[in-house]
Symmetry: C5
Subunit: 354 residues, 5 copies
């Protein structure tokens, strides 16, 4: 699950501009979609060739050019030459295993983050690399496969919400990243609910299966953290950029992004602490239960030890053991044993040993 960056031997020494797809192929066909809008007009369509998108480059309206599937070097090449991007940008887009980052170029800002999405059926979290290229009039977004979390943003554009239809690509970028971070918070919250639910159960009783649960949650949380943590650097980079692509009016929203990602990180930190506390409680419970058992068993044994010894003494075959011949000796012995046992029990009780 962890998706660490790895290199294949044959990837070493490639040109940084080589358009090589790295990752798991997730789609058969690259899907190109366009949403072009300004305050009055809205045009939404699927396009066949990159060329159709390039035409929007110099219009006054805002265009959101979304590409699903990043494994086709041909399309990447067309985008690079059509929009005049450095080739290294597209190489970064195709490296879906790379670390979230933000880089400013002379004619655009490139940024990539991990997109987390809950798969409602399997209760799993799907991870995808999202790359954005911000240009003055076109925002290009690259996703690894069809189906995304941006439907609410499309709805806002369609419903002609004033702000988004009157702003540029920078505000659109904010809107997309806001959804990404909201999903982070949502997914951490879902995991958090399970963790807090365990919190109530663990104080009552501890069994081995809880340990497995804790370890599972710990791994899931680590997985989330690894993907969310570096996104903060990207948000900070975006909020602090002095690029002309970001208008002053958008800055307050970018600060909002930083606040949100900080909040996501802090609550993941909190859950980590809770998990660590749960682990301690689990181990304390287990060891305290074991101690109780061993103590009980030991006390139980100890009580019988002098009694068995006494029986042993009267089991000896000496010729002259006076006690053996008194009529009530046997019953006296039994009574003595009972008294010894009771006295020991009382002594242990008073010492609060059980």
């Amino acid at each position: 699950m962890a998706r660490f960056v790895r290199k294949q031997k044959n990837e070493i020494g490639l040109s940084p501009e080589a358009l090589l797809f790295r990752g798991v192929k997730r789609t058969d066909k690259t899907l190109l979609r366009i949403i072009n809008f300004d305050a009055e007009n809205l045009q939404e369509k699927e396009i066949k060739t990159v060329k159709e998108a390039i035409e929007f480059q110099n219009s006054d309206s805002v265009t959101w050019f979304n590409i699903d599937g990043v494994d086709n070097p041909e399309i990447m090449k067309e985008i690079a030459s059509g929009f005049g991007f450095e080739k290294i940008i597209l190489s970064d887009v195709m490296d879906t295993l790379s670390r979230p980052k933000i880089t400013e170029y002379s004619n655009c800002i490139f940024l990539s983050v991990k997109m987390l999405k809950e798969d409602e059926e399997s209760d799993n979290v799907a991870i995808e690399n999202l790359s954005l290229i911000i240009t003055p009039s076109v925002l290009i977004s690259f996703q690894e496969k069809k189906g995304d979390v941006f439907e609410p943003v499309r709805d806002r554009i369609r419903r002609q919400t004033k702000r988004i239809r009157n702003s540029g690509t920078d505000y659109l970028t904010y809107a997309l990243l806001d959804v990404v971070i909201d999903n982070y918070i949502y997914i951490i919250g879902r995991l958090g609910e399970k963790i807090e639910e365990l919190d109530n159960r663990i104080v009552q009783v501890s069994d081995k299966q809880m340990l497995d649960e804790i370890n599972t949650y710990k791994r899931e949380l680590n997985f989330l953290r690894k993907n969310i943590k570096p996104a903060k650097e990207v948000m900070l980079g975006l909020a602090k950029t002095e690029s002309e692509l970001i208008q002053d009016s958008t800055e307050v929203f970018l600060k909002e992004l930083v606040d949100n990602i900080t909040q996501a990180n802090e609550s993941s930190d909190s859950y980590r602490e809770i998990l660590s506390d749960q682990l301690t409680i689990y181990h304390t419970n287990i060891s305290s239960k074991l101690n109780d058992i061993m103590k009980f068993l030991t006390i139980f044994s100890v009580i019988f030890i002098p009694l068995t010894f006494i029986a042993g003494v009267y089991g000896t075959n000496f010729e002259y053991i006076p006690e053996l011949h008194y009529k009530y000796s046997y019953f006296i012995m039994l009574a003595a044993m009972l008294i010894i046992a009771i006295v020991m029990l009382l002594y242990f009780k008073r010492k609060k040993w059980f």
Copy 2:
């Protein structure tokens, strides 16, 4: 209790300016109150409409406009348009689960912190989000419900304390935040008293219930820390701001706020260390007690083992065991056993095993 930030699925992708209340609804009706004062005059009243408050906007006197209840989007909208605020500010006000923050806008400073208040009846700590909007002549404060901790400030205004009646909204802001931080210190102190009281008890005797106490205090302290820690950033932000809304003469008081919140944080750090030490002492005590019991029981058993063995030997049915036929054999055996037991005890004693 922890009130972590969570997102509902349907909140994802909302416009940042959507006036959506997030949190637990705590009041039925929004309550608007006005205190308007300058060095000579004082006017205090409950108002029905936001419009009445807006009128004070351009007066030379200072107005404290307090709103109890932040779940009414209509009122928020009126405030935004009446005072000319960015809508995102009011959206932040309504998000009572958000992280404490401070943001400067062109015509105001917005800040929010968590307000802790001891519920004297239930001995619980109630938490509320406090938002402040500082403008040149009006300070707007938003609380989640009626009833607050600011009565001493109102008294100071009424009693015509020179400084507060002659200063602007910046000093009033200081006065409110000072009360908030004083409450932090007070509440940490209350918890601290319990922790220190436990400190005396735990060295004497350790039982399971103390572990529960420690864990309870730890959770409470973590809860307090999570809410207090980020407030320091807000205080620092306020002390360092170069906004014209903050007069030079107020700066020394804002530094005082930073000192106080630092002190609150440090004493919460101290209590955390004490709790962690207590946990160690508890575990040391428990394990040392268990070790003592096991050692005692083992030594007890060990003393009987050779004795039982001797009895066993004379319980064998061999035909020729010379000792069996001497008259005093039985008593000699008992004496030997006694001597063996005493020698062993002395040996263990000399070795300081018990």
Copy 3:
């Protein structure tokens, strides 16, 4: 002992300039003393009213105005108005529980640190809040009670040591703070001696009382650290200040202060590590001793188990047990038992089990 900052409920919301004494009242009467000197002249006297001190304000000579006892609001008020200080300074002076700090005002520098002093009789460490107000010609020092650690400085002034008699209030400040820090180092050193002495004892033998010693030293060290740590910020603040009240020639001495307080902090860090190592050694010793005992006892028991079993076998009442009837059976059994025991002992020995 820990003296954490606490708030009383009724202190919340007070004006920051309210002259309220916080702390433990330690003196009955406020004592005012004046030392006025320049290169040639020296005047030392006890004064009755603040007014007498104020007269020195504009002289060319240097005046050290020392106040023992900070619980009298009247005197504070006179000082504030007489010297033209902000009232908040005096409010800070009276809050003896506050955190060490340094604040620059337009006409003075205010700083406060904790003063540690060994009570030679009781071997305890007394803590006191020391506040200094540095003005061009008068240095005002506030102590909580009579009797202080500054006698050596007074002696240096009286003995007409060139440097101190020719310098201003800044050098005098340095001299006082130097004594304060020297006392920190001295007191840490005293505690350190005890810790190092324990270091030698603990490797030989560990008993419960040593654990108590370690815990006591740990608490004492934490107490010292909590009071000394924040003083470093004050020294750094003083060394870095660009106030005109500090002459260039004094700066090198202020850097010396920073060096000294750093040294104090580092040696307290070292002792903390030593204590932590001692704790580990203690626990290792205790658990290793317990293990040795349990191992011994277990081995002892195990050797008797097969022997007792053999005796048991020959204690059965079967009619046909051939061995029972041979004449030397009993002695052969005893010999066999001895051999078994020796073989087991040798086996355990070879395995290095004891």
Copy 4:
């Protein structure tokens, strides 16, 4: 393996410019190779004397001068004087045990990093010191022995890849360092595969050999980390340099290097955490298995203790024990023993003790 820096007694106090080889001699003969190229031409040859390389110094084309073997002071001297380098640079080149570093000189940039290379036969990682001297037209690289990881770069130069043939020594430097870092990632990834494979095994069963595996991986990872960590400083230094030797167009690639090395460091951090978790799981498993055994054995013993006691009672030789004479006593005793054993088992079962 660790190759810590050590000093021989006789090395102390040597002039910093003394050309003394430090490290393990790895080659018999120093090998000098030249690749000289521009957009159109390419010349690749082995040379005999340093002089031949120096001639390229003032040409417009780019020359990569590679030296295999750094233990020959004569050659170092010739390079220093031929290219006009400070002698300390060559002294650093010959100190193969030194820490990665970057230093700017007036006429060149010197940098050194550790080069990791997988030895495919032995599955070991070979480490070598790589030094680079960047001058306007010649890039000089020093390796400890023949055979390197740079073949892909040579291929790119030969295949006339546009970018590399049209750029200067700065881009060539990037290309070499990129290969070095790719090898870091590859080697960490190889180790990571083993660690993750262990991750699956360890949850099922824990044996001593796994502990050895974990410790081995931990050491290998520490070895890698120690060599990779300081390389980040070098990459940052290169990315931030304002030297004219680095063209603006190359900067984006240098930032790429920083991203890659960061990624390498982060994944090594992740593996470290995984190893630490595995250690915890291992110890939990071992101790939980031991506890289960001890619990089983104790319960087993405890059940027999009262039974043996009963047998002991009826083994006593009292004259009057009524039970001994009833016909079915023996069988009743056996039945009672069975019942006692079953009751105890059920009790322990219900208490969930096994």
Copy 5:
């Protein structure tokens, strides 16, 4: 050994310029030596009075004035007045227990570091305080006693090594500090060898004596670290100074110093980690060995428990025990016991309990 800074009660409050020797007196007579040189000439002699050294102050040649023994206030006074130094410098020189530091004065740079030197006979590390005062033409070095580590530098001067004879006091300072740091690395390396040698032994067998070794090395390493760590600040301060006393050409060598001290610190960090790992391995080994013993003993006991029980049953004195009268009962019992023991052993074996 640790040489923590301590204050005597009577040292508190002394003037910072008081020339009081602090430390252990290590020499009877102060020894003054002069080496005066320029590119052509070299003069080396022992002098009687400070005055002779002062004469070199204004010459163009470089003079290294070395003083062995810092406990003579008279000589210090003469140096201060002769060279025109602030008295506080000499006070620092005499305080041999103080922390390494660097301070710039108007006419000189003062720095002090700890000098470590291996005593080859006793295998101990001797520590000495080294103070340097850098002036334009004279470098003054203060050592605590005769005999030092600088002989290689003197040799370099005598052998007319070009660089050192043509440079100023700044390069000479570098040369001395380089020797000091080389000794740090050498001494850490010596300790490191022992630690690595232990590393090989500890995986095979763990005994108590190894624990002592680990603890000894840990203390020695801590001692080294405490003395070496602060030297880095001094080197950084020297490398970053903008004083005119340091020529541009020397700066690259000072950076070298920073690199070297960083390397020393890093390798001491590495050894610390190794020691900490060794401690963990030791404890794991010890506890695993104990567990094996206890497991063996417990299993051994458990096997005999049912056998002894059976013997007990046939030792009862019931009148009617049918088995007692069959001829082969005894042998059947023995056989049954053997089978039970074997079955139990197999069961435990299959469960992998031993």
